[in-house]
Subunit: 263 residues, 4 copies
């Protein structure tokens, strides 16, 4: 049964959930697995370092054991890359290790706000597209950059709502509206969504999907929070498809106001 | 099966849905009935005029035939009343006609913005409480007024998010937060909620419930929109119960950023 | 020389400044006097308790020595009154002591947010107007209450932007816009204005004046901050009089974009 | 006499006004000249096309006759350039024609929102800095891009508040705050400032200056509006220098609330 009534198409592949999940910050792999399940998500992003391609040492090394590749598309991300070269290298390592040739491209030289670098991101995207990767770039909410990325062949654009893990929601609303208006590929709002209402809002604006991590991972019950985001995303998509009323300056009565006692 | 995990208690009565519906503006009674069903609501408000206590003439006169009183609590409202006297008279008429002795108290002398009158509302509330009514007053988001109303014994307070039918959401957020903090009765955000995300936000803030009418009634498919609001309300309540992260000034990484290529 | 190009009329009296000042929280009476001077204000509100009608004990007892009644209209306020009766009593005491028969009516039973009581405020206003006072009531941004107050004869309405001393600016923008649209007396935005930009915004919206206290009183140099607010208020009023452009969805080029290199 | 108490330093040159003006959209050159005067500005940006280096045909061809180069720094801009190459060519033409070797770098391939291209802007900036230009780039509110630009030697960064001519103010507040925090060169908020309050807000946030064009140029009296912006900018700068109070969750009384009638 589809989560949302209309499928999401990314690079020709069909998804029925419009909620993507990140895998950082969960208290355990078991908690993560159960949140993935409850959220109904079909795309799961994993930091390459954490996925631990070598399989040595990291307590999370076996994270991939908890994500069934038949059920979820595993989306390696390049989190931690400081420039295009590092990001490209990471993506290649993931592919060499047998992960899908999809990559969530993240290049953020700035450790404090983790904001993405537009120049290096475009450069890496060009290279990875050339090498046959399906590229989903994380970007600032910059409409011109979004356009350039889709022009070089990325499969989505993923503008941030607010800084990663900040829970501040869609601070970049006006810019994201322009990105959506001009997009020829799916727009996935990534980063900063700290509440189900914020995820619903993104979908209502016309974003094709959202990626959530922190808000679910650090919830006291990630599974229940995952389900809450699932419902909010579905609600937001439905509202977008049906069309929402525009904002009015005055009230609009729901009841007839005249002669109400005249009977 | 409960819509939300914890029941809502109003005047000692237990409800499992935190979404109240209004019945104005639907294109037909059939559309209304199916939206009520899909929304999972248990409390339905009806304008007394429309309910047509005399049963004559009004095309909506038979609206009550479409609302099963075993399934829904029928909540008469005094929409159209210009002062306390009119509101009290309407409430009595409804009770005399056999409707439940509950009343959504609405007194809005102003036809343009339909904003409630604080003075007349308090006066009518005092009178109706004395007469044994369960009173749910629609008010401006005024914390002091909300306190006075609960002190005279109203069963809820229903502050507006923005003007009725305006779709502008929760413009009075700061005031509603204070109302919630100080409330000893359920707080129901009423009016202005035009999108599922806005309903979810109200619940996330700690409102006990929301009342929605226009956004559902005028949707091209009220039943689907009713279901979308249902999901959003459930998502918002879940998030509130679980607790949401606070807003951060900086980013908070979801992936380990150090030494990611050191393996 | 007028501060603003058009005079402000309150109860038939003409003022050239649209910035009213409060006198609480200054580090000294001297600092206060110099801030009043720099701000260009002509109306100064003083808490009756602080003004100390008895002249005994209070270190601020002599505050009135620092406010030249020839230069400033001294506006006693009823801050601290918990109900109409206390407020009326305070206003009478002030008049009996020879202060102007003007009163800034403040009734806030709630010590945490200092929000005004709509019921008691209307009651006291009716009484004081009957007794010949010029009444300037501090209220929640409630358009219906504002209308009722002007209907009983208050000289202004003074809706709050946000709680007293909170520095949060105009959180009640939508409601204040309605108050301004419906007002037949000057609208003075009172409380919560923590920055010159917020004062300017109030004037740009069409408010007739603003009252500022905390932001100036606790500034490291109240005199310079007073002058900053003076400039902001004048700027905002000018912009309102000239008319501001409406918000546009798209850009509007300032330079011709075509054929720029065709020469 | 300085407009603002502390000078603004750009590329070693000292300015006393923190308000930069654009010259598009004025109804006449005379109106423009008088607005420049009233605004107290010292930096004036001129579209190269409009300045008409050839002197032929354009009714605004003689705009330079109306801007005294002894009084104002003439800042040529590359408005209309679609890529780095065009922008560099325009800057060189201006310098060749004897204009100052300063350039406001604007590259906006998108005619609808006039949003700047981050990639081409960085490329052109690198080239122009190498050629000895003082470069002031107009950019999206992208903190990483801002950092890269200052690292290649631009004299300022000029993030947009909202799209050019949109009057929507500072929609990118959170991003601009990060830019300011990380800046080693002056931050000039450019575009979208439609009201004096919005200009004041930019300065209060810590922006070093603002550039305004449309709001002044299309005002019914550009000279008076120029003066209004001047006052607002000065007020905002003063408030920033003095330090503004932080936002509080609760009220903070300005008057002693206890025992007020105990005397």
């Amino acid at each position: 049964m589809p989560n949302t009534p209309d499928p999401l198409l990314i690079a020709g592949r069909e998804f029925h959930s419009r909620l993507l999940l990140g895998t950082g910050k969960f208290s355990s792999n078991e908690a993560m697995a159960s949140a993935l399940e409850a959220s109904g998500c079909e795309i799961v992003t994993v930091a390459l370092r954490r996925a631990d391609l070598t399989g040595k040492g990291d307590p999370f090394a076996n994270i991939l054991d908890f994500i069934d590749p038949k059920k979820y598309l595993l989306l390696p991300n390049t989190s931690g890359a400081l420039n295009a070269e590092e990001a490209v290298r990471l993506a290649r390592l993931a592919a060499a290790a047998g992960l899908p040739k999809w990559v969530k491209l993240e290049i953020h030289p700035d450790p404090r706000y983790l904001l993405p670098d537009p120049i290096e991101t475009l450069k890496a995207a060009e290279q990875l597209v050339r090498e046959g990767f399906t590229v989903l770039p994380y970007i600032n909410a910059d409409p011109v950059l979004a356009k350039r990325l889709q022009d070089v062949g990325t499969a989505t654009v993923m503008p941030l709502g607010s800084p990663i893990g900040s829970n501040r929601g869609i601070e970049t609303r006006a810019q994201i509206e322009i990105i959506i208006e001009q997009a020829t590929v799916p727009v996935v709002v990534d980063a900063g969504l700290g509440a189900p209402s914020q995820a619903a809002e993104a979908l209502e604006m016309g974003a094709d999907a959202v990626l959530v991590n922190t808000a679910i991972a650090i919830a006291p019950d990630p599974s229940r929070m995952g389900r809450a985001f699932k419902m909010a995303v579905e609600a937001g998509r439905e509202a977008f498809l049906l069309g929402l009323g525009s904002e009015l300056d005055t009230a609009s009565p729901t009841s007839p106001l005249t002669a109400f006692l005249s009977q």
